[in-house]
């Protein structure tokens, strides 16, 4: 029976296995390349975790795994001992990052709504100026702001790290929000206006709920931006201040300025600082891709 069925299609059959084999070979080839690349890209994570589990003695042996097979979790425990410096850094960083993650999407959406959906004189000129600030290298304003914050009495506090960002939330975020809001049909807003709703109410109850995806994206980026911010705390907060953030604290304790630091404790701190970034990314991945799609649309 089988022979009878396969015989007539011999001509095709002869080619098919070859094609299938070629396709399978190609597929395998691609997977091998991808696997090799994945090993490369995972290397920093892998080595960071491995080193963080070494004992102090092992660090000097220049090994990745402990020769004696011991896994030292003391480096992590010392981070989470109550009263450790690291917990203080973590607390400061969380305060700043959470304020920005909540505040920046709200403030930037407010401004973006004005730029995208309201008509008034000077709107386009102001928007052009806001976008132009993107061209200014951060370092130009970073250092003179030290003098201004000194006047305000903000040095060695967390204020310079979050308060300025609540004034508009940054040009990039306003740009992203505005691009997104332009997609909301005007009819939808007009209908509400005709019903007698105040414009702020229209923004809050109609525009804002539609902007949730981009707001999540902006919130995530703000959180990670605050989490990673190094040059800001470095400029406005002294080494050893109780308002050190994670980035600054890690630099002062384990960076090139400190020759006596151990790789294992440095890496444990690094792993703890990296985990929230990875966790949030996994959690918000869907919205991030959406945000990237908007970013990629037009510069």
């Amino acid at each position: 029976m089988q022979a009878q069925i396969t015989m007539p299609s011999r001509g095709q059959k002869k080619r098919q296995p070859k094609e299938i084999a070629a396709r399978a070979a190609k597929k395998t080839g691609v997977y091998v390349v991808l696997l090799a690349l994945a090993c490369f890209f995972l290397f920093p994570f892998f080595i960071m975790v491995c080193l963080s589990l070494l004992t102090d003695a092992d660090v000097f042996q220049q090994v990745v795994f402990s020769p004696s097979g011991t896994i030292e979790i003391g480096n992590y425990l010392s981070i989470f001992t109550s009263g450790s410096k690291y917990l203080g850094y973590l607390g400061n960083t969380l305060i700043v990052a959470v304020i920005l993650a909540v505040g920046v999407p709200f403030v930037s959406s407010l401004c973006a709504f004005g730029f995208a959906k309201l008509k008034f004189h000077g709107r386009d000129a102001v928007y052009a100026i806001v976008l132009a600030t993107l061209m200014i290298p951060g370092v130009i304003t970073l250092i003179p702001l030290y003098a201004i914050y000194a006047k305000f009495g903000w040095l060695n506090t967390l204020t310079p790290l979050w308060l300025p960002s609540l004034f508009g939330g940054g040009a990039t975020n306003i740009f992203l929000m505005r691009q997104f809001m332009r997609g909301i049909p005007n009819d939808l807003l007009d209908a509400a206006k005709i019903d007698g709703a105040h414009i702020f109410r229209v923004y809050f109850t109609i525009a804002l709920p539609l902007c949730v995806p981009i707001m999540l994206y902006v919130g995530y980026m703000s959180f990670v931006g605050a989490w990673n911010n190094f040059i800001g705390p470095m400029t406005y907060i002294d080494a050893g201040s109780k308002f050190s953030t994670l980035a600054l604290g890690m630099y002062n304790d384990y960076g090139p300025v400190n020759d006596t630091s151990y790789a294992n404790s440095a890496m444990a701190a690094g792993v703890v600082m990296t985990i929230p970034c990875v966790a949030l990314f996994v959690f918000f991945q869907k919205y991030l891709i959406e945000g990237v799609a908007v970013t990629g649309l037009k510069g």
């Binding site: 490369f40 220049q62 250092i143 030290y146 003098a147 004034f167 990673n228 970034c277």
Partner: protein
């Protein structure tokens, strides 16, 4: 009728400005004020101190600008920092663009587990720059860094990493490769926007994969390439975090003295001079961006028609 239309509706004006008030105040207080302040101070000799309307320091005219060319102590660092930054930009930006594009081409296919693989490639981008700098600083330490023991195991011996001037830049570029995932994601988003029909008609016309990439993918991505190029150049000129956490004070023989690292080192003692350096950076950035955009005007506006 015409008059009524032209008449300014004061309520709309007020409401509009109220909505954008935060950013107007923000730009005035936190961008314009320090910008003007820095510009004025760039003509003065002064240490960094609390802002004051009455005290500006010693007026020195354009000295902070021309001492980069006349006084050796400043000019040597200035040119070294320009050289380091330029070499990094010229090698790293095109390399990253090309490699991330190739990666995106490789990952832009329908296969089982592709989403997972993309996320995997993106992972190193999630490591905070400070952690990444400290990680590589520890790994490449001469006395107990693990990198050279790994290299010895695969037969490469004595790579100097950041302990020698000659190997510092190649090492920095190598480390940058782990962040390819960032631009790769942008490319992938762009590749998705290219209509599939273009490839289908090309295939019918007998174009192979390579021709398809050169004739369809690259031109369709042109606006993105320009955008990426400009943004990467601007970002590269401002390299700071990674280098500051990787090496101490501009590295061995100032081999890692990036432009912003140089500005930053002068900020406390010679605030006026550091402001002048910042403005020079500003002009360089603006000039470069304009050149790239002018140079590629057709590609950039091609899509909008």
């Amino acid at each position: 009728m015409v008059k009524a239309v032209k008449k300014i509706k004061w309520k709309d004006e007020v409401v509009g400005w109220l909505f954008i008030l935060p950013v107007v105040l923000g730009v005035l207080i936190f961008t314009a004020t320090p910008l003007v302040y820095a510009f004025i101070e760039s003509f003065f000799e002064t240490p960094l101190r609390e802002f004051s309307f009455t005290e500006w320091g010693t007026f020195v005219g354009l000295k902070n600008y021309y001492r980069n060319f006349t006084t050796y102590a400043y000019s040597s660092r200035f040119w070294q920092s320009l050289k380091v930054t330029a070499v990094y930009a010229v090698i790293n930006v095109p390399l990253q663009l090309a490699l991330s594009f190739l990666l995106a081409l490789l990952l832009n296919r329908e296969m089982r587990g592709m989403k997972f693989i993309r996320a995997l490639f993106y992972l190193p981008v999630l490591i905070p720059p400070v952690c990444s700098g400290i990680l590589w600083n520890q790994l490449t330490d001469v006395n107990y860094g693990v990198m050279n023991s790994i290299l010895t195991a695969i037969g490469i011996e004595g790579w100097g990493w950041f302990n020698e001037a000659s190997s510092s830049m190649p090492s920095l570029i190598f480390i940058g490769l782990f962040n390819l995932g960032g631009s790769m994601i942008l490319w992938l988003a762009q590749l998705k926007n290219i209509p599939k029909s273009l490839y289908e008609s090309a295939r019918i016309d007998g174009a192979n994969k390579f021709v398809q990439v050169v004739k369809i993918t690259v031109p369709m991505c042109a606006p993105m390439i320009i955008y990426n190029l400009v943004m990467s150049i601007i970002a590269t000129l401002q390299t700071y975090d990674l280098v500051a956490t990787l090496v101490n004070m501009g590295g061995v023989q100032n081999s890692m003295l990036f432009y912003v690292v140089n500005i930053y080192q002068y900020r406390v003692g010679q605030f006026g001079y550091s402001c002048a350096l910042s403005f020079i950076l500003f002009f360089i950035t603006a000039a470069l961006s304009l050149v790239v955009m002018r140079f590629s005007k057709n590609a950039y506006y091609g899509e909008e028609g």
